[in-house]
Amino acid sequence: MAKEKKNNTKNENVPEKTGAKIVIDTLLENGVKDCFGYPGGAILRVYDTIFHTSELKHYLVRHEQGAVHAAEGYARATGKLGVLITTSGPGATNIMTGLADAKMDSTPILAITGQVGTYEIGTDAFQEVDTYGMTIPITKYNALLKSPDDAARVTKEAIAVALSGRPGPSLIDFPKDVQNGLSSNYKDVKMRIPAFHVEKPEISGSVDEIINAINRSAKPVLYVGGGAVISNASRNIIELAEKAQIPVVSTLTGLGAFPGDHKLSLGMLGMHGTAYANKAVMECDFILSLGARFDDRVATNTEDFAKNAIKAQIDIDSAEIEKRVNVDFFISGDLNDVLQKINPQIESVSKSPWAEHVQKLKIAHPLAFDEGGSEIKPQQLIYELWKKTKGEAVIVTDVGQHQMWTAQFYPVKHPRQFICSSGLGTMGYGLPAAIGAKVGVPDKDVILISGDGSIQMNIQELGTAKMYNIPVKIILFNNGYLGMVRQWQELFFEERYSHSTMSGNPDFIKLAAAYDIPGKTIVSKKEIEEGLSFLLSSKGPCLLEVSIPWEEKVFPMIPAGRNYENMIEYEHKKDKGSLVSIIPHNPQK
């Protein structure tokens, strides 16, 4: 306390600012240019400040959940901080899902929520909720801002913690009177959290052992996760893979950290991974995790996962080491720094029988689906989209079958090119996240792939896309079902389709038209070309509804909790046409 008072007297010549102004100015000083939000009673001073701040572009969403997912999409597409602002009470509770989502997927966002005046906290005031208490387990940093004297420090801390190490969500709960209160304590303010929370950790662990293991193993695999994207490690991962001829498998969040169309790429592993990725993991003698966390969709069975392999793990978050699966060696530290240290000591391999064997696995176990009749198969359409966009579009998905088909059939080439809710599996993430992504990377094509279930969870955000003319291109797979739920009910609940049919769906084209957004429906294979042309040539936001057969399932599939030997590669039904085989992870290249 003594320190603070001293600060105040020292700053006598510094003009006073409101708490709201200090927070907004601190955001600007830290390079924030865009934010998403929704005003309300307890955040009006902040919105009044925004009114006078032309350097900060604010996007008004239609529901606070839209703001938090838009901030996530923005952060995932750019690597920068995503910022959102909401009011107290319901404004705060409506962002909880997104905060939890950002915590799971290590997405750096900052939420600023209004709060009732400090003198009213705890009295069940209008629109009061214990935002601080509620967000403890779903934020990386949270604070109740109690004085304008702390505004600059807390904002700095929130930003630094969100972006450092393993990123995550920060939240500042901002009472009305603190927004209005005046302070001159905002210049050269120091953070008060211990330095190790915001500084890059030192590299520690079994560096030499891992180098030896890579050099000695005959059948190695690199297992790439979201940490590889965050740490900007792509170039070094490519170097390592090429130097030692190591095949690469990826988690959902890791897609793009290694080019999907690279000869050594096997695409995604795990529950809905490619058969060749999963078989490579079953056969390998060494598996090196690069910023991945052996989660239950990858290591479906912790005992049997890559059971013949020496396992090693590199992660910046040492709490991830051996959280689920025991490893033989680990290094904690920033992945890119670690690889820079390791790569020069890796022996070059010109010809690897193992890498060639893995190519044969691709040919023997391709992704496959029944051709069907005239109806459109989602896999086919996604693959056509990949070809038409040369694999370069930024892809955002919602959650469900369409998400898995996209992960399989649209092998992205670059980091930050594939954006979805991976860990939390948040339906309704897609549309607002695509809006946020497009705001973040306006020069790239952003395509949302969604389903009739997911899109209805945040469909109101069509209004946001329209208001700011944000040209998100939406592909909506409509099968009239909650497809993934239905798939599990078919396979594991003897076809008892309990509450998974979506009868009552609107006419999505009319709905888009009501927002003055152009739309088009396609139902037969012949129309794929025409539909994609419509989508890709549209200038503003647009919607392509693709009618698909409801019985289509996602394969391969490893049932939850089972090991990789229980993988179902595909079900071929002869009456549904011949089998189409596709190897998106091109072996010819």
Binding site: Y132, G133, I136, P137, K140, Y141, N142, L144, E157, V161, R192, I193, P194, H197, D317, S318, A319, K323
Partner: protein
Amino acid sequence: MKHLLSVLVRNHYGVLSHVSGLFTRRGYNIDSLSVGETDNPEYSIITMVVNEEPKMVRQIEKQLYKLVDVIKIEDLTQKESLQRELVVLTVETNRANRQEILALVEVFKGIIVDMTDSAVMIEMSSNPRRIETFIKVFSEYNIMQIARTGTIALEFPSGRSRKENSKESK
């Protein structure tokens, strides 16, 4: 297995919720908990006893380190440390058992804090095991009221290696 964790934290609202939350979300119980300021009012020490598998305790330790208010964690279980608890209880007395009770207090080196003709209030501080015995012995009588603190603990300076001590002084 019982683990005794000593967590140095910033003395700051919400820190206890953050720390205890890591246990609640996993369905773990904290057997005993004690929080107090250090000589520097900016910091507090949370001392807690948890009864869980060592692997789980290690995981929670790592998660604790990720909290921005946590500065240092020590697992004192494996170290030579002094452990203390305080118990205060009021026992019903009568003419027949009063001398016996006073004698027991003497045995345990307890302190009589208050006395009436029908009750006696006793204070006793010791290691958790002796506290257990003390309570067990007195439960033969009618305990009218009882209050007990959590464990506080400190590593013995003589139990630390020289290296650790010199690291600390830096």
